[in-house]
Structure formats: structure tokens, C-alpha cells
């Protein structure tokens, strides 16, 4: 009994970490710019390959992960300057264009590095309690997922960049007229989203097989969470991540990956039916009601 409970709890932590980390880079870009980045999986790929390759070249793992994040950030910034900035305010076109980018990146990775890379082993061993044993690294990932959300909260609420970014998201022309360099905000946001996707790739590099298509394994969770979460990056992603994490963990535990994914998808359809604006919309109307009641 206790092992079952522990097992479910850890499964939940695992799902929650995966969902949050798979989504957060996509969510930052979608929330701030309204763009769904179809090449999101390939940003993760760059992070994972950067980490694995520099680890293979002899760097310690933590440093290798830093290289992965850096490589993805640079990759993202270059793309923002050359491609993305031409497509702001064309959300459907930007999705199509980023898909083109995704095809190119996957295939170039295949041509450049072959069909697999040799793996970084999972660090940190395992924790055990009686007959129960679990990879310590996976627990660390859950901690990092929470830390990422908290840091983003701090970044958007308490820094000048955050204030300006929120103003730009709310009303771009007004923000610009008040002296905000919105072009730089977009660049910064895109860079941040890329860095977070790179971090995801770096963190999961030791746990997944290094193939050029590895990005695709993050997409279902990432897209579903963004759809359920709506446009509010932090609140949407954390709540949707928590909700979907429970759904996914429960059903994966009961019946395997496929049923877990289907359950998430059904939960997403249900959530959209009930909350057309995503969880963000629910929070907004709740806030409005509370503000009114307080008057």
C-alpha cells in the first residue's frame, strides 16, 4: 500500500517535471508573442545535443549542460533576428514557418551527427525506501521544474525586463509610445524561451536516447499544456502542469504511456470546452469577481 502510494507520488513528480519542463520554453514564447513554435522540439534537440557532445568532449556534466543551454540560446537569438521578426502578427504563418525550420534542423542533425549519439549516463544513482527505489536525478528534475517556475515569476513580476515584457504583451503600441524598446523585448523573450527549451534538452539528455527526432517526444505534452494553460505563462503552465501531471501519472500508472497521453488529450478537450480562454481565463474572471466583491 505505502509502496503504491509512493510510486504514484513519484510518478506524479516525474510527470509534473516533464510537463512543466517540456512546456515552459514554448509557453514563454506563446504567452508573450502569441506564436506557437513548431520547432520547439528542435530547440530541445539543440540543448540535448550540445550537452551530450560537449560531455563527450570531456567537459563535466554541469558545464556541458551550460554549453547546451548557451548553444540553444544563440540558436534562438539568430532565428529571431533572421526569421521570426518578419512573422510577428502572423500567428498561423509563423507556425508553418517554424515547422519548415523544424524539418531542416532535424535533417541537418541527422546528416551532421548520424542516427544516434553515445549517451550520457543518468547521474546521481537512486534513492530507496524499503523495497522502493527511484532515480534521484528524476527527483532533482522535479525540484528544478519548480525552481524554474519560481524564477520566472520573479523575473516577470520584479524586474524591469518583466514589467516591460508584460506591458508589451498587454498593448504593444502603448508600450512602445512609453519608451519601451519592444523589438528588444521580443528578442529577449524569444531568447529566454529558447534558453528554457535548451535547459530542458540539457536536463533530459542523460535520460533519453539521442536521436535527431528526440524533440518530437516532448511535443504532445508541451502542446496540450499550452492549450490548456492559455496565454498566461506562469499561472497557466503551473496549474495546467499540475492538473495534467495528475491525469497523466494516474493513467500512465494504470494503463501505460498511450492511455496516459489519450487521457491528457481528453482532459485538454474537456478543459477547452469548459474554459474557452484556458486556465488563464478562469483566473481572470475569478480575479474580477473578487475585485468586485471587495469594493
Amino acid at each position: 500500500m505505502i509502496y503504491d502510494t509512493l510510486n504514484l507520488l513519484f510518478q506524479f513528480l516525474d510527470s509534473f517535471a516533464f510537463i512543466v519542463l517540456a512546456t515552459v520554453g514554448l509557453a514563454v514564447i506563446f504567452g508573450m508573442m502569441g506564436i506557437i513554435n513548431l520547432a520547439h522540439g528542435e530547440f530541445i534537440l539543440v540543448g540535448a545535443y550540445g550537452t551530450t557532445l560537449s560531455y563527450g568532449a570531456g567537459l563535466p556534466l554541469a558545464l556541458a549542460m551550460g554549453v547546451g543551454v548557451l548553444a540553444t540560446t544563440v540558436f534562438g537569438l539568430v532565428l529571431e533576428r533572421t526569421v521570426m521578426r518578419r512573422l510577428y502578427h502572423r500567428p498561423l504563418d509563423s507556425m508553418v514557418a517554424t515547422w519548415g525550420l523544424s524539418l531542416v534542423t532535424v535533417q541537418l542533425a541527422r546528416i551532421g551527427f548520424g542516427n544516434t549519439l553515445s549517451q550520457v549516463g543518468t547521474p546521481l544513482g537512486s534513492i530507496s525506501y524499503g523495497a522502493f527505489s527511484y532515480s534521484a536525478y528524476r527527483v532533482v528534475l522535479a525540484g528544478i521544474a519548480v525552481a524554474v517556475l519560481v524564477s520566472l515569476y520573479w523575473l516577470f513580476m520584479y524586474t524591469e525586463f518583466g514589467t516591460q515584457a508584460r506591458a508589451t504583451m498587454e498593448d504593444e503600441p502603448t508600450a512602445r509610445s512609453m519608451g519601451v524598446d519592444t523589438g528588444r523585448i521580443y528578442l529577449g523573450t524569444f531568447g529566454l524561451g529558447s534558453a528554457l527549451a535548451g535547459l530542458t534538452g540539457a536536463l533530459y539528455a542523460p535520460t533519453i536516447t539521442m536521436t535527431p527526432e528526440l524533440g518530437a517526444s516532448f511535443l504532445v505534452e508541451a502542446f496540450v499544456t499550452v492549450v490548456v494553460g492559455g496565454s498566461s505563462v506562469l499561472v497557466g503552465t503551473s496549474l495546467a502542469g499540475g492538473f495534467l501531471g495528475v491525469v497523466n501519472a494516474t493513467f500512465t500508472n494504470l494503463a501505460g504511456t498511450f492511455i496516459g497521453q489519450v487521457a491528457m488529450l481528453l482532459a485538454a478537450i474537456l478543459a477547452i470546452r469548459l474554459l474557452p480562454e484556458g486556465i488563464t481565463g478562469l483566473i481572470d474572471s475569478w480575479r474580477a469577481k473578487r475585485a468586485e466583491g471587495g469594493q
Binding site: I36, V83, L87, L219, F258, I272
Partner: protein, 349 residues
């Protein structure tokens, strides 16, 4: 009322006598192709032509009704697998005919159910696009884990990532449709689909479809049930993709989960974006050209086909967002000395 009044209208570009003359010539050339080409080349051409039906399925829902689906391949794959299941169990003329009907039917039903939940559930715009893609990816996950022997329906094993093998050929009057015969069947189906869609988009219903694309709210307030229109068009798209999938299964006698994967899912989007999203003929031409080119490149041993295809998509969106066919049509109409206003012929006939 002549046939031309049904096929021509402001929602299709080529409406002149010259266009129809060129179109006729192209059809004659395609009909004559097996006379001059090798069996191998004809079989490949049949593949490109059956892909064009998949391209048309996206063209009609995206280009004419404004619903961008990234998951047309889900209906394609479901159609193909269903044909395989029925065909393997009943490999007779009636069996494969039944497989064709079931394949298209199941794909259509699947599109209807998905469309119903999306459109009547208030899912819109980019969310529709993402949901359709997620559905394809989830089916991909599902098909990938069907390797075990418990995943067999009658004689037909789904086969996991190894795929479903030994799918029979479509049969007509006791004759297996392979090589040239298959090519002609695909060509006629494509021709019928194209002309049928032309008639559809130029009909009253087609006008309402385009109106939904242009301004859904306004159209609702002219009294149109816009959710129903979107559902019908999306279902039609599912049926066409399913038909294409059935032909594909019969062509290669094989289906595997890669048809639900993210790379194959991108191809219809590439074809239609490059060809011109509101040009049926553009979608057909681009499908053929891009697939032919990719194959030529693969034959030479190059791995750069997908790089070129992805790059082509990127370049199109950035510099020619309407696609190639509309640009060509504009260029041709500029060359004509007396510019006629679109839609005029409709009454002149």
C-alpha cells in the same frame, strides 16, 4: 447551363478558355505518360498523384474555409490501416471494395467526431491547428505500441513500428490494380476530386465556406450556421485524406506508424503552402513537383531532400506567402493586354 458555369467562378483562378485548353493538354499528357515511361516511373507517378489527393484535402479546408489542420495525415493513416485490416481478412474483389469503403468511412467518421468536439466545443484558430497535430501524434504513439500479437484483428497484425505488411491491392472486376492500371485509377480519382472540389467551391455552399474563412462572425450574422459549415468541410477533408490513405496502402501494400509522425504530417502543409493555399491546381502541382524532386534527390543518395523541403516552406512563407500558383496566375493576367475583372465570365456564359 453548361458544365463551365458549374466549374468556373470567382473562387478559382483558371476560368478562361485558354486555361481549360491547357488543362486538357495536361490531362492528355498524364493519360499518355504510361505509354512512354517505365513501369517503375509510372508507379512513382501514381504515388505522387495519390499524395495530391491528400494535398487537396488540406487545400479545401485551409485555403477555402480557413481551418488550418496539421493532422490530415491522421485521417490518411486511419484510412490506410483500415483498408489493410479489411483487405487482409477478405482479399477478394468485394473484400477490397469493402476495404475501400470502410477505410474512407472510418476516416470520415473520425474527422466528424474530432471536428464535432472541436467546433462545437468552441476550439478556434491556432488551437484547432495544435489539437489536430496532437491527435496525429497520439495515434502515432498508439500505433507504435501495437507490436504484440494481441494487436491483431483477424489475420491482420498492426505490427507496431514494423508496420502492417501484406496489404492486398485494390481489385476491380477480379483484376488486381497494379502498375499502369493503378496509375489510371488514381489519375481518374484525382481528376474527379479536383473537378468535384471546383464545383463545390464555386457553389453557393462554397461561397459560404469562403465567407467563413474571411469573417466568421459576419457570416454567422448573415444567418449561416458557421459551426456546421466548418464541421462539414472538415469532415470532407477527412474523407479525402482517408481516400488518399487507402490508395497509399494499396500502392505499397504496407502501412507503418511513420504516416502519423511529425515529419510526414508536415508534408501536406508544405505542398499546400508552396502551391498556394487557395489554389486547388497549385496544391496538385506542388505535391507532384516536390515529391518528384525529393525522390530524385534520394535516388542520388543525397540526404538533403528534407532540408530542401523545409527550407522551401520557410522561403515560401517569408517571401511568397500566397504560394506559387497565385503568383503565376497574377503574372499571366498581367501579361494579357485587356485585364478582365474576375467573376465576369460567370455571367457572360
Amino acid at each position: 447551363m453548361s458544365l463551365r458555369t458549374v466549374l468556373d467562378g470567382p473562387n478559382t483562378r483558371g476560368t478562361s478558355d485558354r486555361f481549360w485548353a491547357a488543362f486538357g493538354l495536361a490531362v492528355v499528357a498524364l493519360l499518355g505518360y504510361p505509354l512512354v515511361a517505365s513501369t517503375y516511373a509510372v508507379a512513382n507517378a501514381a504515388l505522387f498523384l495519390l499524395y495530391a489527393i491528400l494535398g487537396l484535402s488540406l487545400c479545401v479546408i485551409w485555403g477555402y474555409c480557413g481551418i488550418l489542420s496539421f493532422g490530415q495525415v491522421a485521417f490518411f493513416g486511419i484510412g490506410g490501416y483500415t483498408f489493410g485490416i479489411v483487405g487482409i481478412n477478405l482479399s477478394t474483389t468485394t473484400g477490397t471494395a469493402l476495404g475501400l469503403l470502410t477505410g474512407v468511412g472510418v476516416a470520415t467518421l473520425f474527422a466528424f467526431v474530432l471536428g464535432y468536439f472541436m467546433f462545437y466545443g468552441g476550439v478556434r484558430d491556432v488551437y484547432v491547428t495544435i489539437m489536430t497535430l496532437v491527435v496525429a501524434l497520439v495515434v502515432h504513439t498508439f500505433m507504435g505500441q501495437t507490436a504484440g500479437s494481441e494487436w491483431a484483428i483477424g489475420e491482420a497484425a498492426l505490427g507496431g513500428f514494423d508496420g502492417m505488411t501484406n496489404i492486398p491491392n485494390l481489385m476491380l472486376g477480379g483484376i488486381e490494380l497494379i502498375d499502369t492500371a493503378f496509375y489510371y485509377v488514381v489519375l481518374l480519382v484525382l481528376l474527379g476530386t479536383y473537378l468535384g472540389l471546383r464545383a463545390l467551391v464555386n457553389s453557393d455552399f462554397g461561397r459560404a465556406m469562403v465567407a467563413v474563412r474571411e469573417d466568421e462572425e459576419r457570416t454567422e450574422l448573415l444567418g449561416y450556421d458557421t459551426k456546421r459549415i466548418k464541421l462539414l468541410v472538415f469532415t470532407l477533408g477527412g474523407a479525402l485524406a482517408g481516400l488518399s490513405g487507402v490508395l497509399y496502402a494499396s500502392w505499397g501494400n504496407y502501412m507503418n506508424p511513420a504516416v502519423f509522425g511529425i515529419t510526414f504530417a508536415a508534408l501536406p502543409v508544405v505542398w499546400v503552402s508552396v502551391g498556394g493555399r487557395d489554389s486547388l491546381l497549385g496544391a496538385i502541382g506542388a505535391t507532384y513537383a516536390i515529391e518528384w524532386f525529393s525522390q530524385q534527390l534520394s535516388i542520388t543518395g543525397s540526404e538533403y531532400a528534407l532540408v530542401v523541403v523545409g527550407g522551401l516552406l520557410l522561403v515560401t512563407i517569408l517571401w511568397l506567402p500566397k504560394g506559387v500558383a497565385p503568383a503565376v496566375a497574377d503574372w499571366l493576367s498581367e501579361k494579357q493586354s485587356s485585364p478582365s475583372i474576375r467573376g465576369h465570365e460567370e455571367v457572360a456564359d
